[in-house]
């Protein structure tokens, strides 16, 4: 049995878990190719115009897998933490796919909903497993196995090994030396880690000799402590992590600049990015750059803005002796 996992949306946060899980159950797991122009074009053509870039990209990946697999993995991710959601489009993703793309293979569209509690975790896992086997013991051990892989993956990211296109880089993007020019790169993981979708922003920053700090490298618990002090509970999971990161950065200021990558028309970012930008500007003097992408964005423009931003940071560092006093405070584990 072949199960296809599309390289989009939750992919960068969770795929090692699901890949290991289904492989341990004896299925063959096929990942779609890393995003490329063809995938993006196909996705854009087969999605309603109004959808955001990441949703279009996901649709492209479904088309990429369509004729290669028996099942496509498109879970209905309502909520992964208590009291939180991800985005209405994640909630309705199986339907968007089903009604936008012809001849989709059967979907593994099990509901993940821990909004009220995590009590249903194992029932959910069994439901996922039953596409392959009814043997609960087997599912239990496959899940345990998968969890190990997942934790390793998360740990590697925490250490700065960026999962570009889902593949962990060999070296950390962040060497943590005092005085190195460091940029916090913020945004939804599926935009940042998608090399093509993000216009290769990570490679570009590396080429500009910049250390990169990602929200996933910061301790989630600490970030939660920060976001818990918000007046109203931030009920979007990505939003919460990003808000927490921004609050941490604004307080600790051990960073040279923040680049926020967003998708045009992203409903979550229209609030989260706005609140973050306001906070950064009012509580710190950390330079802030917003890059908004869609399938029509020209790469040249992005390059120019990126380079100008880094130039400005260089200038500041030179003229203000503004060396980044980086501390290992909440990084890593």
């Amino acid at each position: 049995m072949k199960i296809g996992i599309p390289r989009g949306l939750w992919f960068y946060d969770y795929y090692p878990l699901w890949k290991a899980f289904y492989e341990a159950l004896g299925a063959e797991v096929i990942l779609s190719s890393p995003t490329n122009k063809h995938i993006l074009d196909q996705g854009a053509k087969n999605t309603v115009d109004e959808a955001c870039l990441p949703v279009k990209i996901l649709h492209g990946h479904i088309i990429d897998l369509r004729d290669k697999v028996d099942y496509i993995f498109v879970p209905r991710m309502m909520s992964v933490y208590k009291g939180e959601y991800i985005c209405p489009k994640f909630c309705g993703l199986p339907e968007m796919v089903k009604y936008s793309i012809k001849n989709v293979p059967p979907m593994i569209d099990t509901v993940i909903n821990f909004n009220k509690s995590r009590k249903s975790l194992m029932t959910t896992i069994y439901e996922f497993g039953e596409y392959v086997t009814k043997d609960r013991k087997k599912i239990d051990s496959a899940y345990a196995e998968a969890l190990k892989k997942y934790k390793q993956y998360k740990q590697s990211i925490a250490e700065g090994r960026i999962p570009l296109n889902g593949e962990l880089m060999k070296e950390s993007c962040f060497n943590g030396k005092r005085g190195r020019k460091t940029i916090a790169l913020m945004g939804h993981s599926y935009l940042i880690y998608d090399n093509f979708g993000s216009m290769e922003i990570i490679n570009k920053l590396k080429a500009l000799n910049v250390d990169i700090l990602l929200p996933e490298m910061l301790d989630n618990g600490r970030l939660r402590d920060y976001s818990d002090t918000l007046e109203k509970r931030m009920f979007w999971s990505y939003g919460r992590r990003l808000m927490g990161t921004a609050m941490y950065l604004a307080e600790n200021k051990d960073i040279d600049g923040v680049i926020y990558v967003s998708s045009f028309g992203c409903g979550i970012d229209s609030i989260v990015e706005e609140l973050i930008e306001r906070r950064m500007r009012s509580e710190s003097d950390i330079p802030f750059l917003l890059i908004t992408l869609d399938e029509h964005t020209g790469e040249a423009g992005v390059n120019t803005r990126l380079e100008a931003f880094i130039d400005m940071i260089d200038w500041r560092r030179k003229n203000e002796g503004n060396l980044s006093p980086y501390g290992k405070s909440i990084c890593g584990n």
Partner: protein, 369 residues
């Protein structure tokens, strides 16, 4: 304390009754206008959905009339509406306005907190007076929504064009001037009676359209560019998937008891969309199916640009269109929407429905039924 609130169609009448009955000083924001929208657009993030922008415009226009407290409802996700209050507060703060926000989040089983918010608002701690005022506000809201229903029916049938709108507009002007539940209800009854007795032209061929989509866009006439009047003038009778009175009943009275009046609609939506995804996407799809089954001639979906749940619904609706053979038009509005372009699309759509209807009629005649 001078309380104001954002506009959302007829809701202002209910809020007015509620607060007046509780003896609270209120400022009803001026009817939404291009000025309102301009103010809102200027001070809101560009990419936020339209309702927030209009809300900001409402606040500023009310602040100019002395409002110092804002009362709004909210939610806890998954959609943006749940975080409106926080962003709005930030926006007003950066404009130099420090206002009190009173949040009336739907009780979700927690009536205690809800009542605390209401008590903060009301001049009384007496739950009995609060409940009485709430009941009156609810009744008033149903009354005004009934005026809407009467107008939906009359507009396409009136002998003298514009007679419905004249009564309708005059109601909305007068109701701001009268005070308290009794006076409002008298005006409601009077208006309903007058609209119902407008003379009809029996010759007119009425087309029926189901209006579906995002709740605020459906309910607030300014935001949907007066689509109900436009359609009425084109001889279209409409029905809306969402009404503010039903919304209130849902959130205030039913949901806390884990009940819903929308179960039938969810059932209708189920083959296409089986779960809640935020906003009213499920209702949009459910009502689309319901209208199609009831023999409506067409469907129009309206929603604000970038509205997440409605984008999901929009992906699904072409399948409903095909499965039930019912034409569907999607209208997306934002601050840049041009009225002329919108009119053309609506007129072309209604023309199409008329032709289809005639065709069907002729086919029936030919086949001898």
């Amino acid at each position: 304390m001078k309380v104001t609130f954002p506009h959302m169609g007829n809701q202002y009448v209910a809020t007015k009754v509620l607060l007046e009955e509780l003896g609270v000083d209120i400022v009803i924001p001026p009817q939404c206008s291009n000025d309102t929208l301009d103010i809102g657009t200027k001070h809101s993030p560009e990419s936020i959905c339209l309702p927030l922008k209009v809300n900001i415009g409402n606040y500023i226009e009310s602040i100019r009339q002395g409002a110092d407290t804002i009362v709004i409802t909210g939610s806890c996700g998954p959609c943006r509406f749940g975080y409106y209050s926080i962003l709005q507060k930030e926006i007003l703060k950066s404009m130099g306005h420090q206002l009190d926000f009173i949040l009336l989040d739907p009780p979700q089983g927690d009536y205690d907190k809800f009542f605390k918010s209401v008590t903060k608002l009301a001049n009384t701690k007496n739950p009995y007076s609060i409940i009485k005022a709430l009941a009156k506000a609810t009744k008033a809201l149903y009354g005004v929504d009934e005026i809407d229903d009467a107008a939906f029916y009359k507009r396409p049938r009136e002998r003298v064009m514009g007679s419905t709108d004249q009564l309708y507009d005059s109601f909305h002007k007068e109701v701001r001037k009268v005070k308290g539940y009794r006076a409002v209800m008298d005006l409601v009854k009077e208006t309903k009676r007058k609209i119902n007795s407008i003379e009809e032209d029996p010759e007119r061929d009425v087309v029926k359209i189901g209006l579906i989509g995002e709740i605020y866009t459906i309910i607030e006439p300014f935001v949907n560019l007066d689509i109900e009047k436009k359609l009425g003038a084109l001889g279209v009778e409409i029905n809306k998937s969402l009404k503010i009175s039903r919304w209130l009943t849902e959130h205030l009275y039913l949901q806390p008891l884990k009940l819903s009046s929308e179960k039938e609609i969810w059932q209708a939506a189920k083959p296409y969309l089986g779960s809640m995804i935020g906003g009213h996407a499920r209702e949009t799809v459910g009502y689309a199916v319901k209208y199609a089954k009831e023999g409506y001639d067409g469907l129009i979906q309206v929603y604000p640009f970038t509205c997440m749940p409605e984008i999901v619904a929009q992906s699904i609706l072409p399948s409903v269109e095909k499965d039930y053979n019912i034409p569907y038009l999607c209208l997306i509005v934002d601050e840049m929407t041009g009225e002329a372009g919108l009119n053309t699309r609506i007129e072309a759509f209604v023309d199409l429905l008329r032709r289809r209807k005639e065709l069907k009629h002729n086919e029936k005649l030919l086949s001898g039924y």
